[in-house]
């Protein structure tokens, strides 16, 4: 989880990823942020997040994204 927060902070240092729960619904992350996060997460965690996983519920918080990563790693 810490590694994920580090990655997200590297892309958007101005966002408090520990507490934010409306990253998509609140329009905090834009489409460029999302593809940057996906690109770095794919490399760092050895997963392949594809376009079908781009749902608000998977990206609204760091925790939700971490759950998606764990799910993809388990597959």
């Amino acid at each position: 989880m810490e590694e994920l927060i580090e990655i997200m902070k590297g892309i958007r240092p101005d966002v408090d990823f520990e507490t934010a729960t409306d990253l998509i619904d609140g329009e905090i992350l834009d489409s460029f942020d999302i593809i940057s996060i996906v690109s770095e997460v794919n490399d760092a965690f050895g997963v392949e997040i594809n376009v079908d996983d781009l749902l608000p519920e998977n990206f609204n918080s760091a925790e939700a994204l971490y759950e998606l990563i764990q799910k993809l790693q388990a597959e």
Binding site: G10, S31, I35, S36, S39, N50, D52
Partner: protein, 506 residues
């Protein structure tokens, strides 16, 4: 049947009456009949294309429904074939002349005797919109965002839904079906709110957009006869007119759907308050931007090529460009598609690429801009800076319109050249040189209309609109509505139909 006409008003009234008179379970069937009647009012033969798009997307989605979550080869093939079938007639009818004309033009370089005669095809009403609705539906089912609809007639009600079929907004089946098929109750409050919004939309269309059309068309159609300052005025007026026309349409259809308690999505959020071109496109025709984001931008940027490009760029040019490069790569597809969607002409492609260049360069140079602002002691949050950015964005967007209104690239460049070379600044003291053939009363009424439209936008932008509206005494409200009706009647001068909507041509 024009949306702003007496016959359409009667049609909408009958639809609302029947909708609330029948059983809730049958309400969607009334909508289906209304959609078919509305479409047939424009001609009988073109409904074949709509039904074909409906059948292909319906069957394709049912086949995709049987597939698992994983994107297998078979699943991809079904989706691809379905999308190609949906798009085929649209591509032929919308782009046939463009593709064939350019191919023949290219071949004529080697065989000079070749010539091209345009096909006299007419693009069926709403085809650009229902084609995209059908593609969005198929892709969403492919992505398992929601299940495929089993009842073809229900799906066809969505696809042919007349309020969103002529000019958008682009709706998602998963969202719209929630309110379209649940069975809705009549509410006086909704009726009043809906009627007020319809009136506001008709006001924008008839009092602002329609009367300014002839002036704009006259200057831009024969630009060589006018001075640069007149052309610039006409281009600015065109931007305002397009906004009044398109957002007026949205107000009318959203108001109608509000009465029926069907949730149609908003398409505008005060676009002239945007401080950058990128922000403008998040406020203007919002649902089209979202469509391209979901079905073009993400798939392109997250494709294997996009991800490889991003990784390579990060290693070669550092994290910043690496972060942006796959986005730029995808934006190239988005703006090519956006340009071509608006029209099968090189002018629209150039218009799209101008937007692309400005958006990408703004992102790329954001650090330089920040440093420059700091050096010049410019406060980003100051009103003066925000106002400057808004005016700059409006001017840029208006400048791009030189290309979207010109019949060909030569005419666009010639108009720009003429604007600079023959500016005629002295005309600025002669108001009659700008609003050419508009009557004095029309200018006054349209001026009041524009002032009202921007006042509402300012209040909406500052978040005060709802408060102001609810605090407005009923007598004042009645006076405002009456004044709007009188102004509409004066502008229509007894006619029972207004001009067609500009965006329906796309």
């Amino acid at each position: 049947m024009s949306l702003v006409s007496l016959v359409c008003f009667k049609f909408a009234l009958i639809t609302v009456l029947l909708y609330f008179l029948v059983l809730k379970e049958a309400q969607w069937f009334i909508l289906l009949i209304a959609n078919i009647v509305f479409y047939l009012s424009y001609g009988v033969k073109y409904i074949v294309f709509l039904v074909a798009a409906g059948l292909v997307s319906y069957c394709g989605a049912l086949l995709l429904e049987k597939e698992g979550r994983k994107p297998t080869g078979r699943k991809k093939a079904v989706a691809l074939i379905t999308i190609l079938l949906i798009m085929s007639s649209w591509i032929v009818l919308k782009y046939g002349n463009f593709i064939a004309g350019n191919a023949v033009g290219l071949a004529a370089l080697f065989v000079p005797s070749l010539s091209f005669e345009r096909f006299e095809w007419v693009l069926p009403l709403g085809m650009s919109f229902y084609t995209f609705h059908a593609i969005g539906y198929v892709v969403d089912v492919y992505r398992k965002k929601y299940p495929a609809e089993k009842n073809f007639l229900k799906y066809f009600t969505f696809l042919s839904f007349f309020p969103h079929m002529i000019q958008g907004p682009f709706s998602r089946f998963g969202d719209l079906s929630k309110t379209m098929f649940r069975g809705n109750s009549f509410s006086w409050q909704r009726l009043c709110e809906g009627c007020a919004r319809i009136l506001w939309g008709a006001f924008k269309k008839i009092v602002i957009a329609d009367p300014t059309a002839s002036t704009v068309n006259m200057i831009l159609g024969s630009y060589s006869e006018y001075g640069g300052i007149q052309i610039i005025f006409a281009i600015f007026l065109y931007s305002v007119r397009l906004y009044a026309d398109f957002s007026g349409y949205m107000d009318i259809v959203c108001g109608f759907c509000h009465i029926l308690d069907i949730g149609l999505e908003e398409n505008f959020r005060q676009p002239f308050f945007a401080k950058t071109v990128d922000e403008y496109w998040r406020r203007w025709h919002i649902t089209l931007g979202r469509w391209f984001r979901d079905y073009v931008f993400y798939p392109a940027s997250m494709s294997k090529s996009g991800m490889k490009l991003s990784k390579w760029a990060r290693g070669k040019w550092g994290p910043k460009l690496g972060k942006l490069i796959s986005g730029y790569f995808a934006m190239l597809f988005v703006w090519t598609a956006t340009g071509l969607w608006h029209g099968a002409n090189w002018t629209y492609l150039v218009w799209g690429y101008l937007n692309l260049i400005v958006i990408c360069s703004t992102m790329q140079l954001s650090d330089t801009y920040s440093a420059l602002k700091e050096k010049l002691h410019i406060k980003s949050e100051s009103f003066a800076w925000k106002l400057f950015c808004m005016i700059r964005t409006f001017m840029l967007i208006s400048f791009f319109r030189f290309f979207s209104v010109a019949p060909d690239l030569g005419a666009a460049f010639s108009a720009i050249g003429h604007t600079i070379a023959d500016f005629r600044i002295s005309l600025i003291t002669q108001p009659s040189a700008f609003l050419l053939d508009m009557f004095r009363e029309e200018i006054i009424l349209a001026g009041i209309g524009v002032a009202a439209m921007f006042t509402v936008d300012i209040l909406n932008e500052s978040g005060k609109w709802e408060k102001v509206k609810s605090a407005c005494p009923i007598v004042l409200r009645a006076f405002i509505y009456s004044a709007m009706i009188v102004m509409i009647a004066l502008m229509m001068k007894g006619a029972d139909i207004s001009q067609g909507f500009m965006y329906a041509n796309f």
